[in-house]
Symmetry: C2
Subunit: 412 residues, 2 copies
């Protein structure tokens, strides 16, 4: 009789391997599916990684155009460049700060592989209209819902609206201090292909069923590492709606009060939309008081109200070493879009596979460019519980005080 | 007199912004510099991100060749593809499992932009020799030290040997369960350019001094998100040398005992090298006992000794959903290298900017291919404290038991 454990004998060492558990990740993925109604969710390292996974899943690559917006955070467009596709920018609706559907229709070409709208500041883009447009052209909609993970359109949760959806936990409506994110979809093929953007080879081998995907598991797809972080987002998911509803009450109060102040336009909410209010974004009219938005924000900041010009200043002040980025503004005006060169030799903008090399000019996106100079926004820490209506009244007080003294702010 | 805070009046709201602190990150970066002797360190989201940052810093891009090895984890080569450069593979030294310097010399071309050796299993590559080679050609050495963050060559710490060095915390000699990593360099220009691979725009604006780098801060460089995770690696850094020394004692014991067993070759350590022993990697000679490496490992695993064929099975068993990847093996034989297409249209392998499109064939790297079929390794959890010599003796017992019964393992 053999003593070998393989052949039935006793083991030499008890099985006490220190395997890394991913049960927390599976739990969060299941909860995200239950929360949104989406069939599949995969947690990844960031909202950016969720966008890259989605674009990779949709097959966007060299020579393909992705129709997106320039009025967004850098990650939206960075994800397009990450898969070596070319960003084409539609302008925005000046009321919701999201993709202008009519401009999107004008900018679709035979090279367009995907539409990538952004739920900016937490207001969902016009996804149903963009889905109709995409289906007409046989392409996919990837919703950048990083700022809108608790939003809804006509009672349907974001995450269950577009072909694919990207979530982020980094300071977002569903939050983890560690960052992290997830992509969601109802389409099994897109779910599995998304794994190839940067999951561990053995994880792809364990989760995928498509032979085409399995065949590429051995390299971990691109060989990138998108291991999930911020799984404690689970804790916030449990009361995500309670917190969002409280934020909506606070923001509704701000809207009621601020709409009475000349020169300020509070955010508009499309009928049927539940706004996630990641930011509460207003417009300042410099002509009404003869004072610039930047000067007005300086005065507000001095009062202790952190009003940010998000698109212009690239979300200044999040870390001790931060400095404002002077060259901010809508994405199409930033340096690399003027140089059209990211990886060298014009890649990906001037890749030989690009049929119509893009040109990015000031004036291309008049609404995005104007809103950049007029917006000011308050971020979630000012809007979420424990902040309540008394805190909102303090913000109103500060704004009223600055407007009352507006003549003193006029520069000589 | 004005009441506006901006003009000297009292503030409306106390400054209690919920700024995300990165002091923990700064502390770890400072400690890494002190530990290694390197002048600059930047923590990022993973070892992969550290490699991408380093390659981006070195200006590797479309049409450039990066000379690396196929006997490695997917991330090394994935990072090359991430910047759209073309991997060219040198074979390995069969004793240290690291880049064969003579083969590297043969494979340098005018298109080679960087040499990317890997300190595989924790044994430093021949960095001084490769630095000499690189300087002769005016190119840089980027050391993939993800598995060797506590290793040394002639008393100099890894991190202070090559032009740039990538560290990882994911299960590595300096450890965090959250993953994460860092890149290190003594070159200020490379340090700053590395930020452009995926740091926050305002962080780049805060850290960089080079006008060329600052000009590209507004997009966060590529727009990727490489935010540091695993800053608790700091805790392990404090006793990294104590743990590594204990692992060396354990591994030396294994080497002493296993060198007496026919058919097994314990790892070789180059003179002057301090091995980090992320893995303890042996070679099995199937001819000695007439039993394959895989059959031998099955028997060891059944005994409760987790012996892994790392390169072939892609580090199987790290997560509950894991499955072995059948198509593993040295990187050049994996599917996308046969297809030469990652992002579509042959990108980056067959990019029109590539002068000599690469061909990856079985037989190209005879040592890497043979070692893949003969290696078996034990990972850190089996080698580090609290494991001591008694635990090592249990491993020896299991191996001796299997070898004593080897005839029973012969397949019919």
């Amino acid at each position: 009789m053999s003593e070998l454990a393989l052949l039935g004998g006793p083991k030499t060492i008890d099985d006490a391997h220190n395997l890394r558990s991913s049960w927390a990740q599976k739990g969060l993925e299941k909860a995200l599916c239950e929360y949104t109604g989406a069939r599949y969710a995969r947690c990844v390292s960031s909202g950016t990684a969720a966008l890259v996974s989605s674009l990779f899943a949709a097959g966007c690559g060299p020579g393909d155009e992705v129709l997106t917006v320039a009025y967004t955070w850098v990650a939206t467009v960075g994800a397009v460049l990450r898969v070596n596709a070319v960003p084409v920018f539609a302008d925005i609706d000046p009321r919701t700060f999201t993709m202008d559907v009519e401009d999107a229709k004008r900018k679709i070409t035979p090279q367009t592989k995907a539409i990538l709208p952004v739920d900016f500041y937490g207001h969902p883009a016009a996804i149903p209209e963009l889905m109709a447009l995409a289906e007409q052209h046989g392409i996919v909609v990837i919703e950048d819902a990083c700022q809108a993970s608790t939003a809804e359109v006509r009672g349907v949760k974001v995450g269950n609206l577009a072909h694919m959806t990207a979530f982020s936990w980094s300071g977002k409506p569903i939050y983890s201090s560690a960052g992290g994110g997830a992509y969601l979809t109802n389409n099994r093929r897109l779910f599995e292909r998304g794994l190839l953007a940067g999951q561990h080879p053995t994880v792809i081998a364990g989760l995928a069923t498509d032979p085409e995907v399995l065949q590429h598991a051995s390299m971990g797809g691109t060989g990138d590492n998108m291991r999930a972080v911020g799984l404690d987002a689970m804790a916030q998911l449990l009361d995500a709606d309670v917190r969002t509803d409280a934020r909506i009450r606070n923001c509704d109060y701000l809207t009621e009060k601020l709409s009475e102040i000349p020169g300020i336009t509070p955010p508009f909410v499309r009928p049927g939309v539940k706004h996630a209010y990641h930011y509460y974004n207003c417009l300042w009219d410099p002509k009404v008081h003869g004072v610039s938005r930047d000067r007005f924000c300086q005065a507000l900041n001095a009062e202790g109200v952190y009003a940010v010009a998000y698109v212009k200043d690239a979300n200044y002040r999040f870390a001790p070493e931060s400095k404002p980025v002077q060259a901010g503004g809508p994405i199409h005006l930033r340096t690399i879009f003027q140089e059209r060169n990211l990886y060298g030799r014009g890649c990906p903008f001037l890749c030989p596979h690009v049929k119509n090399p893009p040109v990015y000019r000031r004036g291309d996106l008049p609404v995005s460019e104007e809103m950049t100079e007029r917006e000011f926004a308050f971020s979630q820490p000012h809007l979420s519980p424990p902040c309540d209506l008394r805190d909102m009244q303090l913000v109103v007080d500060a704004i009223e005080k600055v407007v009352d003294h507006i003549d003193e702010l006029k520069e000589a």
